[in-house]
Subunit: 284 residues, 2 copies
Amino acid sequence: MLSYLNGEFLPLERAHLHVSDLSIQRGFGIFDFLRVKEFVPLYLEHYLDRFYNSASRMGLPDPPERAELHSVIRELIRRNEVAEAGMKIILTGGYSPDAYTPVKGNLIVSQHALVLPSVNQVEQGIKVITYPYRRDIPEVKTINYTMGVWLQQKVKQAKAADVLYHHDGIVSEFPRCNFFVVTRQGIVVTPHQFILHGITRKKLLESATRQFEVQERTVTLQEVYDSAELFLTSTTKGILPIVQVDDHVIGSGKPGPVTWALREVLQKTEQREIEIATAAIGSR
Amino acid sequence: MLSYLNGEFLPLERAHLHVSDLSIQRGFGIFDFLRVKEFVPLYLEHYLDRFYNSASRMGLPDPPERAELHSVIRELIRRNEVAEAGMKIILTGGYSPDAYTPVKGNLIVSQHALVLPSVNQVEQGIKVITYPYRRDIPEVKTINYTMGVWLQQKVKQAKAADVLYHHDGIVSEFPRCNFFVVTRQGIVVTPHQFILHGITRKKLLESATRQFEVQERTVTLQEVYDSAELFLTSTTKGILPIVQVDDHVIGSGKPGPVTWALREVLQKTEQREIEIATAAIGSR
């Protein structure tokens, strides 16, 4: 697959960084990840807004121009000819002379085959475990997944699919996904603090309000155990039902009607976005 | 300077990793850093013990053999012909097919010129600020310095030299150094929990007990402000006096007698180690 590194299009297998890069020396960098569907980079501007916010918050000097990212992403979609894919944009801390201070970052844009949830996971729901942790600077999409990667050992041991973070009894998010609760009163609730603000989460919140009462607020672990339905959201996974948290079976133990309804809402929102984007290209 | 990458000696400027490495994708890897003095890798076995402990704790499969690291470090010292240097050993999360699961890591061993504290810093002491944070998995030397690098902005704004972490009023460590307090009763105290166990810290604790009462225990931020002397320890910096924490001037505002005495203790311990190592080589 063709990728892009610091101004040059090149096959992904030829994209290398020198070991002095701050990602290798200090795990320091930011990224974003969006989805290409029917050749359209879904919600591109939202992902780019977040990317630039991450770069600015982390003090990464001299990020690439927005026009460069636009043209690179368009070009990769055109030349790779893959209708459905993930698109990853990484901006590292750069070749830092003192191995500690960020300098102009190295930019890598790469397209990847999507690994979607299995039919079984979507239809039966997944089991998750919980772990006491809050990400560093959670509202920024840094490359730091030390804890998430490390916890994979515990996730596998528990035969679970993911791990939900909480802190002092308050839940926040998964390492790579946002978290939603459907209460027994049918209210759709999602944590509002100490999270990465997912674009799928945002689109769902916007579109769900037509059918459901929606709340962004503090969610306790006890409320999670007592809920009617649970699900996670992410760019890759969309909406994925959760039917067990630690030893607690949620609701009926099967994905519930609100989760199904919201999956449809999200799919329609995506389809509308694709139609608008495609029409815009056609009318040029 | 000659370096070593996955079985091959090569000039450092030619050492590259593919962008799929888990350090670049997820900031995931471990490292260690030791000091070469008079061509001797100081306390080598202690650093290697810590390196293997980090690899094991982070679930990095198939780390390099200890004999390989011994021979690489010996060879780099011999061929680079630099008497005083830092030696860095990085083991990344490897070329992970799913960009999330650690696989056999990439090993980079590189020798670097040492950037020592300035004479002014040693003689006058440094100012530090504090920040509420506790490192993830603090007893493991991961490459994750997201917070430490990010806080450099605040350190510079405050015209300080470093930042001391604390959590719920309990102090722990600096991003790259351990922390010591000398109480008004002349007792040498250092935090015992939620820290990386530094080798310089360990050597100092062993050798200081001949002259001073030494305690490893919980240290509060208030105790720091009220102390007689403060200093930090690290492989590169040795013992560096601290004379101001936030707005609090410590003791007389100058490096104190216990700090000076301990600097001498540490230097003698190092010298003895070098003599033993040199004699061992000579007698072969």
